[in-house]
Symmetry: C2
Subunit: 305 residues, 2 copies
């Protein structure tokens, strides 16, 4: 594995960031991303892009970062003593969309590559995936989301979709509530089958599929009219998102502990959130249906709408 | 130390719960606490009381619990192997107030007693304290708060106030932001100087002082007129409260990990919260003053207003 291979993936992520931001801005009449370019030591680069207060997207964060160092710290290698003292590079794109309309789901994607050491002896692995968190469930959206996810990874091996789908259901789960965060999607970590270019192709296929998976759902739901009740339910459900991010999410917790820029790490937080006490949904309501029909692991890709 | 001594403290906490709830309801025209009484095995009792949507208090939670068991689990005694296998009792009152008016500060108090084993060989310790989290700072309020705190604990020894004040400043701190949660107050843990009745008297003195410390500030600020700007700042600052509770607070994290009733543990969460991106306060504003003058450790009890 060569440094140019890392550079290629970095360029891919930067182009993907630009493409997703352009697409998000195309929904907004005047609201634009705040773009920053924070250059660090040794060619490190953090490039957070955050949009707030849009008509369609109340918040969208699409953050790129590239960091590197001469020596992995012992803290970073607690579970991997074989990597102590190696140099490293990490490139990552992390995005989150909090739409205003409660009928439009929240989504999250992360794509990352970690390389320890250099040249032929380098160790590397990819991680990431994308997942969807609807406030109101629609079969057609859930099926489209999962079928697009399956299409992205199936060409690289039949096992990938079921494996990554199951890993996503496991990871995006709130143990204190016994509740999935959303309807899942794809999740992979420590992803390395020995073939760097093959793995990179799969990860880029996931990145390429994101827009096709998400924006048709935005298009279908963004003009659906809603009232205070739907907005209140969205605010409460966003509370679950906060709980997951601050209690469970490895990236968030690692970022905060490692002293990353707080505003970048917490750009994933929803713009407004509520907590209720002992709220119960009316039997037969769309709110109750979310819990009963959507916040349960389901093989959406094999259902037909 | 006798079981009657635990019972006395339990009765004290139950009476304090009733007194504080009555006081809170006296501010509200129609809103009342939702009171539950959840009886567990072996005489355990959880008695959460939560008020939502009041005119003065947007949320108030005043939760009592008493739990006991035949054998402390090894997880519970990870740091105290000497206690493995002992029976235990824990009684606790935990309260939080989220006022609607941004000029009224949020407050939190916890008083608890833990007993391991029985009879003369029993091990016991108290924990708790109270702290204040203003959105807008007023010297007169901060001085009153800390002087009342000092008056509560000083009769039991001169060192208590400075020790508990410093512990409070250390505990209620957000390391990822390098920011105190509020202006502090009193904090103590593993509190046992060998004299159970003496310790109990101090802890009850703290409990007795709470109303005298907090409600005069509510009275002074509750009618102060505010606008959207103040409300928006309160919502953002409440985000820090959420960050502290979900990232740092031992009681919250322990409760969620130990499988406590989620709605009771998270009754401390603010009813509505915002996260902004890279918000900066205008130099010279009241909002900037909060950070510069109040969110810094300061010896308020020795200032005069």
């Amino acid at each position: 594995m060569s440094t140019p291979a890392v550079d290629d993936f970095r360029e891919y992520l930067l182009a993907l960031q630009q493409g997703v931001c352009d697409k998000v801005e195309s929904y907004e009449s005047g609201t634009r991303f705040v773009c920053e370019r924070l250059v660090g030591e040794r060619g490190g680069l953090a490039q957070p892009r955050v949009l707030s207060g849009g008509d369609v997207f109340e918040r969208a964060a699409v953050n790129f970062s590239h960091s590197s160092g001469d020596r992995l710290s012992s803290a970073a290698t607690a579970r991997r003593p074989d990597l102590v003292g190696l140099s490293y590079q990490a490139v990552s794109l992390s995005l989150i969309m909090h739409p205003r309309n409660p009928y439009v789901p929240t989504t999250h994607m992360n794509l990352r590559l970690f390389v320890a050491g250099q040249g032929d002896a380098a160790r590397w692995w990819f991680g990431g995936g994308f997942d969807l968190t609807p406030y109101y469930g629609f079969d057609v959206d859930a099926i489209h989301w999962h079928q697009t996810a399956r299409t992205a990874v199936e060409p690289f091996g039949e096992d990938h979709y079921p494996t990554m789908k199951a890993a996503c259901d496991r990871y995006f789960f709130l143990p204190h509530r016994g509740e999935p965060r959303g309807i899942g999607g794809l999740f992979f970590d420590d992803f390395n089958d020995g073939d760097f270019e093959g793995c990179r192709a799969l990860v880029q296929s996931v990145g390429d599929a994101f827009s096709a998976a998400y924006f048709p759902i935005v298009d279908r739901r963004k003009a659906q009219s809603y009232g205070d009740e739907q907005r209140a339910f969205q605010q409460v459900r966003r509370g679950r998102y906060v709980e997951f991010n601050l209690l469970q999410d490895r990236g968030t917790l690692y970022g905060l502990q490692a002293g990353a820029r707080v505003e970048s790490v917490l750009a994933s937080m929803p713009p407004s959130v509520s907590w209720s006490y002992c709220r119960e949904e009316k039997p037969g309501s769309k709110e109750a249906e979310l819990y009963e029909r959507f916040l349960v692991p389901r093989d959406w890709a094999n259902l037909s709408d």
